[in-house]
Structures are given as structure tokens and as C-alpha cells.
């Protein structure tokens, strides 16, 4: 029987993962960047029209002296980022062995810059951490092809980093609720306020059931605090099931409040056996491993 390993052991952080998982994560992440820039956070581009008197640069943006966004600068950043992200998708899907890591690094750096443009006008969003980790660890892994079953420690480390970041997002969000909201967060009208501010047909009826909202507040906090346990689950099937449950939770939040954390959802996919996608016909697992290992 394998010994119980966890975040306290080095072998857990470097447990080999299939390169196919990295390849699919690259495709998903770079596609998300394109969707995010064109649709879900197209408001970021609007900041180019806002006077610099309303620009409140964040600590890291001030540290590296990023210039205040201008209409031209934001447009240039927007389209450069879309171009490298599209290139990242194409290179990964086509299995090109050159330039893939440089493209990945460019996506990560430009996306972080884009986030500074997004968050420097009086409101910081908190759903991007795991995705930023994903964007920055993807280029640390070498060439990876969709469906590739070979495992490597570098891929394992990258997958782990993203998994820990995704789980930390839940746990630390619960911590922040206790730090900023206190126990009033779970016992107050937190969700009622959210529904009043941004309710939909799916959620408006809950305003008549304050008891239900109260229970949901406790459920959310307890689930977030329990999230790190996901790192200790060994059965892939159980992990996939729990992650599917988390996706269902985020879908309900979207229907109820119109809030969706797409980048976080992509990072969460690091828990799924994505290497099974696009596997090429081979039946016997040994044959797969051999042909992969013997690749050029």
C-alpha cells in the first residue's frame, strides 16, 4: 500500500502528472484569455477612456512604475494579448515544438498587466489568483501534446501549484469573510443584500425565505473552509465528482447573482484527468506509454 502523502512531503508536490493534462490546460487557459478579453471582461478596455484622475494604481503596478493606461495603450495591450493567446492555442493544438514556452510566458505577463489595468480604478476582483498561477506555471513545463500520456515531475509540480492555488482561493476567501465580515457574515443578511443588489429571476424568490439564505451562508463558509481536504483525496473518480459539484455551485451562483469566476473555473480543471482527452486510439496503456516515450 502506498504511504499517505500530502503537502508536507516533497514527493507530493512533484508527483508526476501526464503531459496531456498540461496541453489541455494550455488550450483552455489561452482560449479563456481570448473569451475574457472579447466578452466577459470587455469592460477593462473601457478604462482607456477614463481620465487618469480616477486611476488608482495598485501596489505592484506602482512598484514597477506601470504607465497610466491611455486609450491607445489599452487597445495595444488588448490586441497583443489576444494575438499571443491565439498563438498559444494554435501552437499547442498543432504540436509545434518551438516557441511554445515563450508564448506562454508572454500570455502570463501581459495578462497580469491587463489585470493591473482592470483593478486600478477602485475595485479589485478576487477570482484571478489561481488563474494567474496557472498562466505562470504553464510555461515552466516543456513541450506537451494533447492526449500525451507520458508523465513528468515538472508537469506534476505545475498541476499541484494550480490545485493548491484553487483550493487556497476558497479557504482564504472564507478566512477573509471572518476577518472582514466577522460572524455577522454567516448570521446577517449577506446573501439578501447580494440578491437585492444583483438578483435575477432565479434568486429573487429567496428574499422571502431569510432562513434558507441563512443556512446557505453557513454552508458556503463551511464548504470553503473544507476545500483543502480536496488535496488529500486519492481517488481520481472522487476528486472529479467533487470538482463537478463545485462547478454546479458556481453555475448556481451565476444564475442567482450573475457572478461567474470563469478564470477560476479553468484553474479548477487542473484536478480533472484532462490527459484522457484526445487520446489517440491505442488500446493497451503500455503501448501508449512506449510510443509517447519514443517520440522525436
Amino acid at each position: 500500500m502506498a504511504p499517505l502523502t500530502g503537502p508536507w512531503s516533497a514527493s507530493w508536490w512533484f508527483a508526476p502528472a501526464a503531459l496531456g493534462r498540461i496541453a489541455v490546460l494550455r488550450v483552455l487557459a489561452y482560449l479563456l484569455v481570448v473569451v475574457d478579453l472579447l466578452f466577459t471582461t470587455s469592460w477593462v478596455a473601457h478604462h482607456g477612456d477614463v481620465s487618469s484622475s480616477l486611476y488608482r494604481p495598485l501596489f505592484l503596478a506602482r512598484t514597477v512604475s506601470l504607465p497610466a493606461p491611455t486609450s491607445f495603450g489599452v487597445t495595444l495591450l488588448h490586441w497583443s494579448l489576444i494575438a499571443v493567446a491565439v498563438a498559444g492555442v494554435v501552437v499547442t493544438v498543432a504540436g509545434v515544438r518551438r516557441g511554445d514556452r515563450w508564448i506562454g510566458l508572454a500570455v502570463a505577463v501581459l495578462y497580469l498587466w491587463w489585470m493591473f489595468v482592470a483593478m486600478s480604478y477602485g475595485k479589485v476582483d478576487h477570482d484571478r489568483f489561481a488563474f494567474l498561477v496557472l498562466a505562470f506555471v504553464l510555461p515552466t513545463v516543456g513541450f506537451a501534446r494533447v492526449g500525451q500520456q507520458d508523465r513528468s515531475e515538472t508537469a506534476g509540480w505545475a498541476v499541484r501549484m494550480v490545485q493548491v492555488a484553487a483550493v487556497a482561493t476558497y479557504f482564504l476567501a472564507a478566512w477573509a469573510k471572518i476577518r472582514f465580515g466577522g460572524w455577522g457574515w454567516v448570521n446577517g443578511a449577506t446573501l439578501a443584500r447580494a440578491v437585492i443588489r444583483r438578483g435575477t429571476w432565479f434568486s429573487d424568490w429567496t428574499l422571502d425565505l431569510p432562513g434558507l439564505l441563512h443556512v446557505l451562508q453557513w454552508a458556503i463558509l463551511l464548504l470553503e473552509l473544507a476545500a483543502p481536504l480536496l488535496l488529500l483525496v486519492r481517488s481520481q473518480r472522487l476528486v472529479s465528482g467533487i470538482v463537478a459539484g463545485l462547478y454546479a455551485f458556481h453555475l448556481m451562483t451565476f444564475l442567482a447573482l450573475g457572478i461567474v469566476f470563469l478564470p477560476h473555473l479553468v484553474a479548477l480543471a487542473a484536478f480533472l484527468p484532462l490527459e484522457r482527452l484526445g487520446r489517440r486510439g491505442e488500446r493497451a496503456p503500455t503501448a501508449t506509454a512506449l510510443s509517447g516515450a519514443a517520440g522525436p
Partner: protein
């Protein structure tokens, strides 16, 4: 990196993005308190009072709300919103006045009670 994240959660503020605390909806609402949000109303050349959507001046409501103390202290800053609106909506009627409005909703037992009330927090004229 995770150390920075933990420190950010314990002691950090939003300013430390991406290592700040994850305070998405972390604020508390008392069951019998008031919940409030902000909006920009504008008076057009023809004397009509219109609501300005965030997209019309390039900012989200939460960003407006994040800078409320600055607008209250220096209402001339609302001029930057009028400027951005003119840039983004060149065909819209001209604006002769901007108002930062705080809209409040009384809550009783965790449910909205009565109609929301408005209070003008800052006014700007060109």
C-alpha cells in the same frame, strides 16, 4: 508565493493584488440594517434627469463605489466621469449636471422593507 498569499490574507489589503485577501462578498449585512449602493444621475441640456450606466463612462458600479470618498471630498472629480461619458457616448445629449446618488434600502428581518430612498452625495456642474 503561497507565503505572500497567506500574509496578504492576514494583513494585506486590496492594494496588494494578486496577493491581497480574497474578500469577495466578505462584507456583513445586518438583518435589520440598511443596504445601500451608488449611482450617477445626470441632468441633460433639455432638463431631463437620466441614469448613467457604468459602461457609458467606462467604470463599473463597484469602481464608482470604491472611490466614493474621493468624489464626496472633491466633487469636481465627477467632471472626469462627464468627460469619459462624452468620449464614449459622443451622440448622447450634453450633460449640464452630474449627481452621485446613494440609494438605500431598509431591511427588516433580512427582507427589504418599503421603497428605497435616495440621497445626493456630490454634485458637479461644468
Amino acid at each position: 508565493m503561497f507565503g505572500a498569499l497567506l500574509a496578504g490574507t492576514l494583513w494585506g489589503q486590496d492594494d496588494h493584488f494578486p496577493f491581497g485577501p480574497f474578500r469577495m462578498y466578505a462584507t456583513t449585512q445586518r438583518l435589520d440594517g440598511r443596504t445601500s449602493w451608488y449611482r450617477i444621475d445626470a441632468v441633460t441640456e433639455t432638463g431631463e434627469v437620466v441614469f448613467l450606466s457604468g459602461a457609458s463612462y467606462g467604470m463599473r458600479r463597484a469602481e464608482l463605489e470604491g472611490q466614493v470618498p474621493r468624489f464626496v471630498e472633491d466633487p469636481s472629480l465627477l467632471g472626469a466621469i462627464a468627460e469619459a461619458h462624452a468620449e464614449r457616448r459622443p451622440d448622447a445629449p450634453g450633460l449640464v449636471e452630474l449627481r452621485l446618488v446613494k440609494r438605500s434600502q431598509q431591511m427588516e428581518g433580512g427582507r427589504p422593507a418599503g421603497e428605497p430612498t435616495d440621497r445626493v452625495m456630490a454634485t458637479w456642474r461644468p
